[in-house]
Amino acid sequence: MMMIHVPRPKNAFNPNRPVSALLKAQMEYLHEAEKRLPLRYHSEIYINAVKTEGEAAKYIRHVTEAIHEAHEDAAAARARVVPKRKRVIEIAAVADEAGERRMRGRSKSKKKGGSRGPKK
């Protein structure tokens, strides 16, 4: 089995490199997505003022993470609705139990010759 040596780049890191047409296009795509997010997820970055890769990277990260966060928050909100529904069912169940207790009480009172009839 061959092990191939791969040289490492030297001094390649340059976040001050002018932003390319490709990164500008990527930012414009993300900006369109950002505009459709709720306001609380928006960045305060004006993309036309972005001049370097490092600045572009900050914006790209913000919007990408905001999209994930917005979806996670929405999923969590949906999940919070589920126990609420359960509680309604529980309340309904309690209501049923209360109704049964009332009915039992009424039966008893009827047996006792109570005067209150069911509400109409």
């Binding site: 089995m1 791969v6 990164l23 997505a33 790209i60």
Partner: protein, 406 residues
């Protein structure tokens, strides 16, 4: 059924940025004459009319500044050389690069290609597995519309970098897979959230669960958890992260080519060292040529159902998507591929959704005219298999595949 196809369960595509076939793999002609690389007679005229030879003088960084023009009108000049009769001749690369700086000496650098020793990962993979002599960009234009072909099999009529509004009825390959019955799995792995994804922001916006990061890709490989179809994206920008400096590794000029070599090696190693190696095929391909010289004339192809207007192309002529873009490097890796395979059939990026769809879903409609006419690089795993077309053809899995110290 050949065992390589029978065992195949995962297809992975790694799409790099903006380098031509001759620029990256042209040197291999000297090693294997079946590879359609650079020969000593290849040249382009400069603006003084002097021939400029293709030479192995490419550098990893700082040579191609400014970024060579690869928008539609510039690529038109590169392919047709300004010929009034519009006969494609690949003679306009130096002229096109000259237009950016009006510097004759600098414009000649567009003809430079890498020596084999400079690209140990890409050239080793090309020589060890299957290299495609005729894989072309889908459009003679820039990144975004070409990447769209890899995801949708069409660019919906776009030839530029503007926003692509996704139109029904052509679904992305990811939507086709996860919406199928029985359901298939699919994921796009971008490098990290600071690099994010390119072109498919609409998918990120509406289906972020389709996306993962490169560390998650490595973890999924190690645990044998890769989806049926995986699309891997490189790091598109230089940025700081929690682990330090992240150098762009997409190889887009003027990003460092060695950083991309390491990335390709990491993707390959992750698959090779995973339990999925016998069941996985990896395609490494470049989205377009980036304005850099290649000598093969892009062929005509069946047109798409869209037409770009003369105004959109910027050439004064409409474009019916009936010609492919400039040739790009493409290599298919699998332990079932014989060493030194060279493929001469014509492919473009529409071949990716075509192949993945046919392999996992069989017949599927609707797909774009360009996709339905695109060739597949992996034969469908049903019915009779034509041995002449099957690249995963070995009866016994190879155990001599290389490793990279990345």
């Amino acid at each position: 059924m050949p065992p390589g196809l029978d065992k195949l369960q995962h297809i992975v595509v790694l799409m790099m940025e903006n380098r031509s076939f001759d620029h990256m793999l042209g040197s291999l002609k000297a090693v294997n004459t079946a590879i359609d690389g650079v020969t000593p007679d290849l040249s382009n005229p400069d603006t003084n009319g002097n021939p400029v030879k293709a030479q192995a003088l490419a550098e990893f960084q700082a040579q191609l500044q400014p970024d060579p023009d690869h928008h539609f009108p510039a690529v038109d000049l590169q392919i047709f050389g300004g010929d009034p009769n519009r006969v494609a001749n690949m003679q306009g690369f130096v002229k096109s690069y000259f237009n950016q700086q009006r510097d004759v000496g600098h414009s000649q650098k567009i003809m430079y290609y890498f020596a084999q020793k400079d690209l140990p990962v890409l050239t080793t993979l090309a020589l060890e597995f299957a290299v495609f002599n005729r894989w072309f960009a889908s459009i003679p234009g820039p990144t975004i519309c070409n990447r769209a072909f890899a995801h949708y099999g069409t660019s919906f009529g776009r030839v530029d970098m503007n926003l692509i509004y996704i139109n029904e009825p052509f679904k992305s390959i990811y939507d086709r897979l996860i919406g199928a019955t029985p359901k298939h799995t699919s994921k796009l792995y971008y490098y990290d959230t600071t690099s994010s994804t390119m072109e498919v922001t609409n998918l990120l916006e509406n289906q972020p669960e389709l996306f993962g990061t490169f560390p998650q890709f490595l973890d999924d490989c190690a645990k044998g958890n890769l989806p049926d179809y995986t699309f891997v994206e490189p790091n598109f920008n230089d940025h700081e992260s929690d682990s330090g400096e992240e150098v762009a590794n997409d190889q887009h000029p003027d990003h460092n080519v060695q950083a991309g070599e390491i990335y390709i090696g990491q993707v390959y190693n992750a698959i090779k060292n995973s339990p999925l190696w016998p069941n996985t095929a990896l395609l490494t391909v470049y989205d377009e040529h980036g304005g850099i010289y290649d000598h093969v004339v892009p062929p005509a192809c069946p047109k798409d159902q869209f037409t770009a207007s003369a105004n959109d192309t910027g050439t004064g002529l409409p474009f019916a998507f009936d010609r492919l873009g400039v040739r790009v490097p493409a290599i298919l890796v699998s332990p079932w591929i014989p060493k030194g395979t060279v493929v001469n059939r014509v492919f473009d990026h529409a071949s990716t959704p075509a192949t993945v769809t046919k392999f996992f879903l069989g017949d599927y409609a609707p797909r774009s005219p360009r996709e339905t006419s695109a060739d597949v690089f992996i034969e469908p795993n049903s019915g009779a298999v034509d041995p002449a077309r099957n690249l995963l053809s070995l009866d016994v899995m190879r155990t001599d595949c290389p490793d990279f110290d990345v």
